[in-house]
């Protein structure tokens, strides 16, 4: 069970690091205003992949039930769809030079995180497994909130 807590701690550290180090790719070059969104989209994509693996590990160890696992996968699938849309919208917004165009897909991302938490994570009976996922959800929300302001 401590391994699941370590997973949550590791993901929190990593996503916090990523949120704190948003900067221009090329030193000295003019910062692309869309860079924070681009990096966040990439971080979220990898987080989805890793959380899917985490769910699989927990279910195969019988720490969570297959029904609980399926609800988490449903939530991750919705988050995945939202990030796919976000990536597409970033591409269009960069061409148009309009950051505000990202507001709807950012809102959809936050909603997907809320939904994953309420319909998937909160229903997990194992306290440690639930804590591990909730910590990861908080970190995801932090990553998204960190770029929310720049669309205004």
């Amino acid at each position: 069970m401590k391994r699941q807590i370590s997973i949550a701690i590791a993901l929190t550290i990593i996503l916090t690091f990523s949120a704190c180090t948003k900067k221009a790719a090329t030193p000295g070059a003019q910062a692309d205003p869309f860079s924070p969104a681009v990096r966040a989209a990439d971080d979220i994509a990898l987080s989805i992949k890793l959380l899917t693996e985490t769910e699989r590990n927990l279910e195969m160890q019988k720490i969570i039930t297959p029904q609980e696992g399926l609800r988490v996968i449903d939530g991750l699938s919705a988050l995945h769809e939202a990030d796919v849309k976000f990536v597409a919208d970033i591409t269009a917004a960069r061409k148009a030079g309009d950051r505000t165009a990202l507001a709807p897909s950012l809102a959809a991302l936050r909603q997907a995180v809320v939904s994953l938490n309420s319909k998937g994570v909160l229903g997990i009976k194992s306290n440690d497994a639930r804590l591990a996922f909730q910590t990861a959800m908080n970190s995801l929300d932090l990553a998204i909130a960190g770029i929310d302001a720049f669309t205004r």
Partner: protein, 73 residues
């Protein structure tokens, strides 16, 4: 920023705690060296891989639930 110094020190710990996240750490540390087009392409590729993983896991769970005789828990 002191936060970055602190978190930089903690990153190896995170990797040791959970080797599964070594890839994520490597990815995030590589980001400053990649331009935004490359990062977007990487995000799209990762989402494709995640899509396969999600579908595979969904099918596995459904098969397990079916083997149990279904039902909500």
């Amino acid at each position: 920023m002191e936060w970055i110094t602190l978190i930089n020190a903690l990153l190896p710990l995170a990797a040791n705690l959970e080797p599964l996240f070594a890839q994520l750490i490597q990815q995030i540390k590589a980001q400053p060296g990649m331009d935004d087009d490359a990062i977007l392409a990487h995000a799209a590729k990762t989402l494709d891989e995640a899509s396969v993983a999600l579908l595979s896991e969904r099918l596995r769970l459904l098969a397990e639930i079916d083997a149990q005789g279904g039902g909500q828990q």
